[in-house]
């Protein structure tokens, strides 16, 4: 609560100051946002169709479909990689939801001894570098036969992504009024009915936001997939990195576009949940 503070009166002039100035600043910020977002991304499309494009040309000297033909051909394994990435992403997201929703509820609605410790443990995987943990876990996974398997990769993707789901859900549950559930019970509704008709609609924005984060984190994993998937589980980032490291700009950027497409689609569906009108993003502020 702000205190009742008197502000120096010589600044009072600026209350009626320059509304036009602020308009200009606001427009400038908006333009900056649009430009800033588009500038690194639009050239990717152009590069993917380029044949010769050397300094100092602003536009490609020649165009060609070589990169896209290659990507579309089964010999490039891009289709396989795309499917792998999608499947892994879906399984990781579903698992994170199953694990994370109850955990988020426990944290959001309760105070208990050791809660800080639990919160710390949940946050630890995203604060401590994944590389450190994965290098250590590699041998264990080999012994358990989890390397080179889709399942092993799914497990390893859960590590950096599950905490996000838990955080978002705990934020949503913190704003959640349990009494609605109790009212439903008192009206004679069973547990499942209550969950479906009372709880679920209220926490849906959180589930959607959390799922978005989890999916995106899994979608863009590179080093974890490479180490545990061992080259057998080929996902889009793995292919992308190979071509980026080899400097083939056309194929690299074409892969970038393929990589981006599903993520954009998902964002189109979930955008409204992110825009702040729900308590979803607030979960990040409650630590």
């Amino acid at each position: 609560m702000i205190g009742l503070r008197r502000f120096p009166s010589w600044d009072r002039r600026e209350v009626k100051g320059c509304p036009a100035c602020f308009q200009v600043i606001h427009v400038a910020v908006i333009v900056a946002i649009v430009l800033g977002v588009l500038l690194p991304v639009i050239p990717l499309l152009v590069w993917s169709f380029s044949h010769s494009w050397f300094f100092p040309e602003i536009l490609p000297m020649e165009l060609s479909g070589r990169a896209w033909t290659y990507i579309g051909s089964p010999l490039s394994k891009v289709a396989n990689a795309l499917i792998n990435s999608l499947i892994i992403g879906a399984v990781v997201t579903a698992s994170a939801a199953v694990l994370g929703i109850p955990a988020g509820r426990a944290l959001g609605l309760n105070r208990f001894r050791g809660k800080t410790l639990v919160e710390f443990l949940i946050l630890a995987p995203i604060i401590v570098p994944g590389l450190a943990v994965i290098m250590g876990i590699h041998v264990l996974f080999i012994r358990l036969g989890l390397v080179d398997t889709l399942f092993g990769v799914v497990l390893v993707h859960l590590l950096p992504s599950l905490p996000y789901m838990i955080m978002v859900m705990s934020g949503v549950f913190a704003n959640y009024n349990v009494e609605f559930e109790q009212q439903a019970y008192s009206l004679g509704a069973g547990r499942i009915r209550t969950f479906v008709h009372v709880t679920l609609p209220a926490i849906l924005p959180g589930i959607v936001t959390g799922s978005l984060f989890v999916f995106l984190i899994s979608w863009s994993q590179y080093i974890l997939t490479v180490l545990i998937g061992g080259g057998r589980v080929i996902t889009l980032p793995v292919l992308l990195f190979a071509f980026a490291a080899a400097g083939d700009n056309a194929v690299t950027t074409a892969l970038c576009i393929v990589f981006l497409a599903p993520a954009i689609l998902i964002l189109l569906f979930t955008s409204r949940y992110l825009s702040g009108e729900s308590g979803a993003m607030g979960g990040f502020g409650r630590l």
């Binding site: 702000i2 600026e14 977002v37 426990a106 590389l131 450190a132 990589f259 607030g282 990040f284």
Partner: protein, 287 residues
């Protein structure tokens, strides 16, 4: 709220996954860093790897560079995020589209951003070519060095581009949940816009975005893919150094790689604790 037993049921699955994967991996990595590596017949428990690492000439420069990049990226991201959030909460023509664009970077994997930034700001990138076309430079060498440079500017750019929406959306959520009351109160007390911002809005936003900034800092500190693609060969960021040691076919370097990862983890934890202490002090002062 919930009984102890039901709490355990809700939290246990998630915690088990995290404990086994995270704590297990960390413990195994730690033991390897102490020299316990059966495959090369090393059963020692010693601090050799750590000592070798700290004494190696590349370590301290890498550490300093990593701290520098992480701090600068986080600071810039926070400042830009708050500035843009202040604009985005207003109503304006095309807000839907701009909001969507604002969220767009969240879906773009870091690798793709790195490729985009490289093609944009390298000495033969699009910006350099534009500079040539308008006559600002006549040779790629005259364009400022923004990638593979001493300060990691390209790397910072990538992270700022990715993280501004992340913090920005959190800030927006906080701003929206606050409503306009505080601002209006401040206005009636005679505050101008800057004072309103500095003394009213900022103290209310900061607690909300601090956890997010800690997450960003920790992520940038330990992330690998972007500096691997865009960073200078020497000194390299710590995670790149660690990866080089891990993939060195000379297995004697493996304990050093683990030691490096553990050190990174410890640094991050210390910095996070320090950050937390600092944020608590800010919270108290603005309360």
């Amino acid at each position: 709220m919930n009984t102890g037993l039901s709490l355990i049921f809700m939290l246990a699955p998630a915690l088990v996954v995290i404990l086994v994967l995270f704590a297990g991996g960390l413990a195994l990595g730690f033991s390897q860093s102490l020299g316990y590596m059966p495959i090369i017949g090393a059963y020692g428990f010693n601090l050799d790897a750590y000592l070798q690492l700290i004494k190696s000439p590349g370590f301290v420069p890498s550490l300093l560079l990593t701290i520098f990049i992480s701090v600068l990226a986080t600071l810039l991201a926070v400042v830009l995020a708050v500035a843009t959030a202040l604009t985005l909460r207003k109503r304006f023509v095309g807000k839907k589209i701009v909001s969507f664009l604002y969220q767009f970077p969240l879906t773009v994997p870091h690798l793709v951003v790195a490729v985009g930034v490289l093609l944009l700001v390298s000495q033969s990138g699009l910006m350099a070519r534009a500079a040539f076309q308008v006559g600002l430079i006549s040779d790629p060498a005259q364009f400022p060095i923004l990638v593979f440079d001493d300060l990691g500017i390209g790397v910072i750019l990538v992270y700022v581009w990715k993280e501004v929406p992340f913090i920005g959306l959190i800030a927006l959520a906080v701003l929206q949940s606050m409503g306009n009351d505080y601002e209006e109160q401040a206005r009636t007390l005679g505050a101008n816009s800057w004072q309103t911002f500095r003394h009213v809005l900022l103290p209310l936003i900061i607690p909300g975005i601090l956890p997010g900034s800690i997450i960003i800092f920790a992520y940038v500190f330990s992330s690998f893919e972007v500096p691997f693609l865009l960073g200078k060969s020497y000194p390299a960021m710590l995670s790149v150094l660690s990866y080089r040691l891990y993939t060195d076919v000379d297995l004697d370097a493996r304990p050093q790689a683990m030691a490096m990862s553990i050190l990174i983890a410890v640094f991050v934890l210390i910095l996070v604790l320090f950050y937390r202490r600092l944020s608590q002090r800010i919270l108290r002062r603005s309360g």
